[in-house]
């Protein structure tokens, strides 16, 4: 039965269910990047850099 379901041609691109799921997530992330987000970035473990203080 499985041989019958395979069909009688070779596709040019391989078809994978896992790849489809990753595409959906990547697409979602791309849309989220465009739509959400804060007012300005946050930098970990930094408070301030004073222009005149090279040690800061």
């Amino acid at each position: 039965m499985n041989d019958l379901l395979k069909g009688n041609f070779q596709t040019k691109k391989s078809v994978s269910g896992v790849e489809d799921q990753e595409s959906i997530e990547a697409r979602f992330e791309r849309e989220a990047l465009k739509k959400l987000g804060g007012s300005i970035s946050f930098v970990k473990k930094k408070k301030v850099k004073w222009a005149a203080d090279p040690d800061n």
């Binding site: 959400l36 987000g37 007012s39 930098v43 408070k47 301030v48 222009a51």
Partner: protein, 350 residues
């Protein structure tokens, strides 16, 4: 209908690690473009460094007034006046009109967000029209200062207030502010103190922030994702206050607020569909208020950033918002009247 498998709030938590990237995608290049345009006006102000360590306000405390939904419910400006508080007051630009209308003139206003049209509304938009209002329902939807319910009238009032009092107000003006904001600030005569947004680690090679500092000579301050946190940071590193109280820093919405009245409603619907909005909102119980609040991905991130920043602060941080979701290690939650009583003139002389 989109099939979102995540349950209530789950998607918001999944998006947390992406928030900095999302913010950069939204604002990164605009920040640089605006800094370049604004360079023509740098000579119209001073570096924020000029305020470093300057004694502003009496004593060693300051109060931050931000524009969260608790502002109209708790009315911190009235409490400030009733207490006769003489310490420094730092206002997010979004709370500036509220302060002025309440008779409180902040010692420092802070602005960051580079949005081309929205931020200037906080200072009064001289070019606002009914047509423009129809294009953007952001202000009419928010659970904020009730004045914005009548938008054109509110705008006129704010224009008048800032035209009258602007010259008395210092503003920490980000180099990434929009042209509309910079023009308006110049028009009002506000005393400008320029600063650079911290877009990335300035100590890393190739840092864009470092490049900005080198180019314009202004300091860069970590804003923690939003103007409320930036205001707190100004109290800590700029004014060097030992005690900093937060008001209006909710980072959330009151339980029962319709999703429609949240900041990113339209964006959220575009992303997941109306039927899946629950996945993007997180409910958090505030035991200090014995009440539930809920938050969206951006504000959840602001909360996480703040909690990460507070251990490194020199100041002692008091959340006197009396609402919202900002509590945790390093933050003392205290009723605002109590904080002000501790830092009144009579207490300071003891």
């Amino acid at each position: 209908m989109i099939n979102i498998p995540e349950g209530t709030g789950e998607l918001a938590y999944k998006l947390l690690p992406l928030q900095n990237k999302m913010t950069w995608e939204r604002h990164g290049s605009l920040a640089l473009e605006n800094a370049k345009i604004n360079s023509a006006f740098f000579g119209r102000g001073q570096s924020l460094s000029a305020l470093r360590g300057v004694q502003i306000g009496e004593g060693n405390s300051c109060v931050v007034v931000a524009a969260g939904p608790s502002l109209k419910r708790k009315d911190p400006a009235r409490v400030i006046q009733e207490a006769g508080y003489k310490g420094a007051i730092i206002a997010a630009e979004s709370a500036l009109s509220y302060c002025l209308r309440s008779g409180v003139v902040p010692d420092l206003a802070v602005t960051i967000d580079p949005h081309a049209t929205r931020v200037v509304r906080w200072l009064g938009d001289p070019h606002l029209t009914e047509e423009k209002l129809k294009e953007d329902d952001y202000f009419s939807r928010q659970d904020q200062d009730d004045i914005f319910a009548q938008e054109m009238r509110a705008n006129d009032e704010i224009l008048e207030m800032l035209n009258k009092r602007g010259k008395d107000i210092r503003i920490a003006l980000s180099t990434m502010a929009s042209n509309a904001v910079v023009s308006r600030v110049l028009e009002t005569g506000m005393q400008i103190y320029w600063w650079n947004p911290m877009l990335d680690d300035p100590d890393q090679e190739g840092s864009i922030t470092a490049r900005l500092i080198d180019e314009n000579g202004f300091p860069s301050i970590n804003a923690g994702g939003n103007v409320g946190t930036a205001s707190w940071m100004m109290g800590d590193v700029l004014l060097e206050k030992e005690y900093v109280a937060l008001t209006g820093v909710d980072f959330s919405y009151y339980d029962g607020t319709p999703y429609f009245n949240t900041q990113y409603y339209h964006e959220a619907v575009d992303l997941v569909g109306e039927e899946n909005l629950d996945s993007l909102f997180v409910r958090i119980f505030n035991e200090h208020e014995n009440a539930w609040f809920y938050t969206d991905p951006a504000y959840l991130w602001y909360r996480e950033c703040f909690l990460e920043m507070v251990p490194d602060a020199e100041c002692r941080t008091y959340n006197c918002t009396q609402g919202g979701i900002l509590f945790g290690d390093g933050i003392t939650v205290q009723p605002f009247r109590e904080f002000l009583a501790m830092h009144s003139a009579s207490e300071m002389t003891k």
